[in-house]
Amino acid sequence: MSKLRVATTSLAGCFGCHTSFLDIDERLFDLLKLVEFDRTPLTDIKHCGPCDIGIVEGGICNAENVAVLREFRNNCKVLIAIGSCAVTGGLPAQRNHLDLGDCLSEVYLTEPGTSHGLIPNDPELPLPLDKVHPIHEVVKVDYFIPGCPPSGDAIWKFLTDLIAGRTPTLGHGLIKYD
């Protein structure tokens, strides 16, 4: 049986959901019998190719996030939003009620201890969005796993269900919204 191809990425997240993915611990070896990795933070593949499963951590906070997310949607048959940030925007969305210009000038111009204050303006820096958005507002998402982060056990249960062709279900104790 050929292996399923899996890609993962972190957008505006903290990597905690990826950390939790690695919390499947030794079960990683079992997983590797069933899947192979495309672009993930663990491999040096810089762009996602055709994949069976795409896992996205983090919401979208800038233009680059949007581009990566669209690339994932175009290439992945099944797209999963993992963790509060991808599902709702999460903690980074706390800035949504603030004025971005105020944030910038506070951090780069007026914060004590900051010398030569200026606001970074290089074209290499992707344009930030005014608000942080959950990913389903921009692309179609097939599954959502809540939690900040969902536990390694929850991720394991979900993926093994999906890979085996069962409808993924997270029973009591695995669904958490913290």
């Binding site: 972190s10 505006a12 997240g13 903290c14 990597f15 950390t19 939790s20 690695l22 919390d23 611990d25 030794e26 990683l28 070896f29 990795f37 933070p41 663990l42 491999t43 040096d44 800038n62 233009a63 680059e64 949007v66 999460g90 903690l91 706390q94 800035r95 603030l98 971005l100 210009g101 944030c103 910038l104 506070e106 951090v107 780069y108 914060e111 004590p112 201890g113 900051t114 010398s115 204050g117 606001i119 970074p120 303006n121 290089d122 290499e124 820096l125 992707p126 344009l127 930030p128 969005l129 005014d130 608000k131 958005h133 507002e137 921009v138 179609k140 900040c148 982060p149 536990s151 390694g152």
Partner: protein, 494 residues
């Protein structure tokens, strides 16, 4: 002020090559190179490309929420932020000394964090470069390749990390983003069963950690010249130090030394960090550039992290790790202890130290019983500093009489290393890339240098730019859901 290769004279005439995203690191970043027609590198920059603004949006929050909020800066070292914030808030609630139980449980959590983060970095992220070669096959150069060729090593890496995560779980309540530490102390003890289960494995973990130190030593011996020289540069240093000069990753005073060993300050009360550390902003990165005020921005940049801590402490207060430290410092007349890749060796020594500390703390019955929380006279300002896996981490808060945070300043480890990482990639660009046809393997050399610092680019994200630009965000159905216009003066409207 100009650093070599920081800014090309005529960028418009040059060819741009980007490494994007930097992979096998935590967080979002990219490197850009500008080359002339003969492939000579004229500019090399590490950019931090994301803005989050934690300092701003914690304002107005009640102070007790802060330790659980700010750890969401980073899912790989959440405990570091959890504890640095708690230490700052200890000062706010007047807990000048937390109880022995609280301090030991927090230390346990912290050493669990160092252990798991160092294991993750070495085995999962960096080891493929070191085991297979910097320009080895890209398909193989990852943990899956390591698992195929070195199954025992990969297994040990995974189990070391698992152990650290379990130490975090029993002290913090959960593996990622726990809630165990609170202003003034902690909120739970360990149960006897939890303690015993961890103790049972502690000796195996110490053994594997020591094997990992020896593995890096062997890699140095096999490639001495390359490992000593690769991406290396002289740097000033900053780290926490215990009163007797011992390595202490949880608490101490600040030690700063120049690249030629002169002391700038030592055992400095970290509440006064801001008399000494300033930050400069550059237009091409959201990450600031800290420097020692006395030396100024051109000369005053410095390096933090494992290499600094292991080479600048007077000793390590656990026997196995200290023996390894002495070996490391003496190796090849001190060259490894000054080498960028020596950071991997130092990191494994710290992992060993953490494993030894965990074992000692688990033997201490204070973690099973005793006072959890202490309070005293309420203060308006608090500073917490800790040695996170990647280096010195500073949290600083002001809280008003309504218990709301009114000001926050965070200087994270990776930010301290900003200039150092840029120096390192420029050293690699000069030596390995200049004048050559760039291949994937050559570009990976740049990332190998960055990975030595184990940067947490996720921690380091701050703010926005200045060109007039317009962006529209269209949803899956083609409707516009966000629109951003950035004016030329850096202000935004939408």
């Amino acid at each position: 002020m100009a650093f070599e290769l920081e800014t090309a004279e005529h960028p418009e005439k040059l060819r741009r090559v980007a490494i994007e995203p930097i992979s096998r690191v935590e967080g979002h970043g990219k490197v850009t190179l500008l080359l002339d027609e003969d492939n000579h590198v004229k500019q090399a920059r590490l950019h931090i490309v994301e803005f989050r603004g934690f300092e701003k949006f914690v304002q107005g929050r009640p102070y007790w929420e802060i330790p659980v909020m700010v750890q969401r800066l980073c899912g790989i070292c959440p405990v570091s932020h959890h504890l640095a914030a708690s230490k700052a808030l200890d000062q706010i609630v007047g807990a000048t000394h937390v109880s022995p139980t609280a301090e030991k449980i927090r230390r346990l959590m912290h050493y669990g964090q160092i252990l798991q983060s160092h294991a993750l970095h070495f085995f999962h992220l960096a080891s493929p470069d070191l085991l297979f070669g910097f320009d080895s096959d890209v398909a193989k150069r990852n943990i899956v390749g390591v698992a195929a060729d070195y199954p025992d090593l990969a297994r040990q890496g995974i189990l070391l990390r698992k152990y650290g995560q379990e130490v975090i779980r029993v002290t913090a309540g959960k593996r990622v983003h726990g809630t165990g530490s609170v202003p003034g102390g902690v909120n739970k003890h360990l149960t006897r069963e939890e303690r015993d289960a961890l103790l049972k494995e502690a000796y195996q973990i110490i053994g594997w950690s020591r094997d990992a130190v020896h593995l890096v030593k062997r890699l140095f011996e096999q490639n001495l010249e390359l490992y000593n020289e690769f991406g290396s540069f002289p740097a000033h240093t900053l780290n926490l130090i215990r009163a007797d000069g011992a390595m202490d990753l949880y608490h101490g005073g600040l030690r700063a030394r120049t690249m030629d060993g002169k002391t700038l300050f030592d055992h400095l009360d970290y509440n006064h960090y801001w008399d000494h550390v300033f930050e400069q902003v550059k237009p091409w990165s959201y990450m600031k550039f800290p420097y020692f005020r006395d030396l100024g921005p051109a000369e005053g940049w410095y390096r933090v992290g494992p290499l600094t801590r292991v080479s600048q402490c007077d000793f390590i207060p656990t026997p196995l790790a200290d023996r390894e430290r002495q070996d490391f410092i003496a190796f090849d007349a001190g060259h490894a202890a000054a080498a960028t890749l020596g950071t991997h060796w130092a990191r494994m020594i710290e992992m060993l130290h953490s494993a030894e500390m965990i074992k000692d703390l688990l033997h201490d019955d204070d973690v099973l019983a005793g006072d959890l929380v202490t309070t005293g006279e309420r203060q308006g300002r608090g500073v917490g500093v800790i040695e996170a896996p990647r280096g010195t981490l500073i949290h600083h808060y002001r809280v008003d009489e309504h218990d709301q945070v009114i000001r926050a300043n965070l200087i994270v480890s990776t930010t301290h290393n900003n200039q150092a990482m840029n120096e390192s990639i420029r050293a690699v660009a000069r030596k390995y890339l200049d004048g050559r046809e760039l291949t994937e393997g050559l570009l990976n050399h740049i990332e190998v240098a960055i990975r030595a610092f184990d940067p947490c680019l996720s921690c380091a994200t701050h703010a926005l730019g200045k060109m007039p630009l317009r962006l529209e965000l269209i949803d899956a159905e083609g409707r516009q859901i966000d629109r951003m216009v950035r004016a030329g003066d850096g202000t935004c409207s939408c």
